[in-house]
Amino acid sequence: MNPFTYARATDPQQAVAAIEASPQAKFLGGGTNLIDLMKMGVEVPSQLIDISRLPLAQVEELPDGKGVRIGALARNSNVAEHPLITQRYPVLSQAFLGGASPQLRNMATVGGNLLQRTRCYYFCDPAFPQCNKRKAGSGCGALDGFNRIHAILGQSEQCIATNPSDMCVALAALDAVVRVQGPKGEREIAIGDFHRLPGNTPNVDTNLQANELIIAVDLPPMPFAVRSHYLKMRDRASYAFALVSVAVVLDVGPDGKIKDARIALGGVAHKPWRAPEAEKALVGKTADERSFTAAAQAALAGAKARKHNKFKIELAKRTIIRALSTVAAMPS
């Protein structure tokens, strides 16, 4: 690990001022991703500004029925088991519990989860000389390397890494809003605009600025999200990153017709992948396997595989169909 200095932030404003004064610094939340990458030599901050004790860990109801606010420093385990989340947004609770291990969930924060870096082998190990994300312009080792876990949607010739988060997939389906604080005050970033596609700048994961601190994630009210589901496919039954995952929210009327739908995919792209074409294909249709299959086809219509990840296209389709079927079978 590179040498660094350590300081505890006293309040959010002070934390923002500290990172502005020291551009090579990083905020330390739960540390589960950052410390790991520092051990690997991928992250080399000059200073760690420990924000883990700032009072930003509440999960609370917003006034006037405006939804639920999750503090950026709430731990994954606490959010997963919070009644406001388990009752109103079960897909998010399931996504949290599908990720990592109980120990890591006790440490990892919501803000940190938004900033999780890819698990691409070529990124995580500096022994690989090529990685445009780690070192701009160095090339991509995954393009013609071992790319079994890599992207099938939205990738570029510069980068085919995937976003590893489970939480973010559920947030994408729930139209979450990320609240950030900068030197000039707060601003909101829609979850769909928070993460970026790789394009020609895969070294930039998100649209968060270097001098901004994530302070909360807002979940807008979505009453029909009580019927929602997160389905994660992975190489072992637990404690593994998703090969493919699907977050589904479905509003089915008493006539069996779909009134509204939200579908987001994980493990397939550089960002949590919302599938509006699939959602559109569902609205007005009967909630049955035929329409679910059509939606799955629509979601993966633009998918492109490389040598080792072709299986993901079919796996993603089947995962969508199964997730939709699971929600459709839930009592309304």
Partner: protein
Amino acid sequence: MQFDRKLINFSFYSRRRWIIYPRAMEDETFESIFGGLPQGGTEADIDHHLLFGNPATRRAFLRQIAGTGAALAIGPQLLGLRDVGAAVSPSETPAIGALDVRLKINGAEFPLQQLDPRVTLLDALRERLNLTGSKKGCDHGQCGACTVLVNGRRVNSCLMLAASVEGDEITTIEGLAQGDQLHPLQEAFIEHDGFQCGYCTPGQICSGVALLREGHAKTDEEIREWMSGNLCRCGAYVNIVAAIRAARDNPATAARA
């Protein structure tokens, strides 16, 4: 000098089964290796000494065997020998950003002066405080061998900076027993043979203690899912689940929660 294979387990604990005698004791006595017998000098005292007691002596023992073929045969990395010298006499060059940190571990305060901010909680426990019960497996939060409790919650101490847990209540495997009375889950691991090599065991037990408090041990399936952060390369999972199930059903466990 040859050692019983189970030597590598000796920072774990058991009263009877796990007494680890180097075969060399035929010509080299316990006293000659450890520089004296623990109080009483009975088999039970030696065991207790090895398993619970004076970790400084254990590390001294490691240092002593470090130069022998036996250490190489066992695997220097597994024993942490590479770091033993540094543990006893930390580098005299002050680290960048060195800071004084007080850790509260198992109810006691431990001042750490001029701590390099890079030191993880796991390394502070093992290399600075000689609390070697917590194990370094992968050092990347993937295996769970380093699991300890911070404010009652299980965490991976390898991914936590020591400086960041100042003021928190830290409980390690060494702090679960009350005197000679093992925690009911420790007893259950012995009773149900919840280990083979024992390296993952302190992490398994710390994780299991938290699991029982969380109430995530209602079924075997639930135990398996909620223990998924602790890997056991020997594959003792069946017996680990049995031990946790037994501790769950033991009224003494609730009394200790």
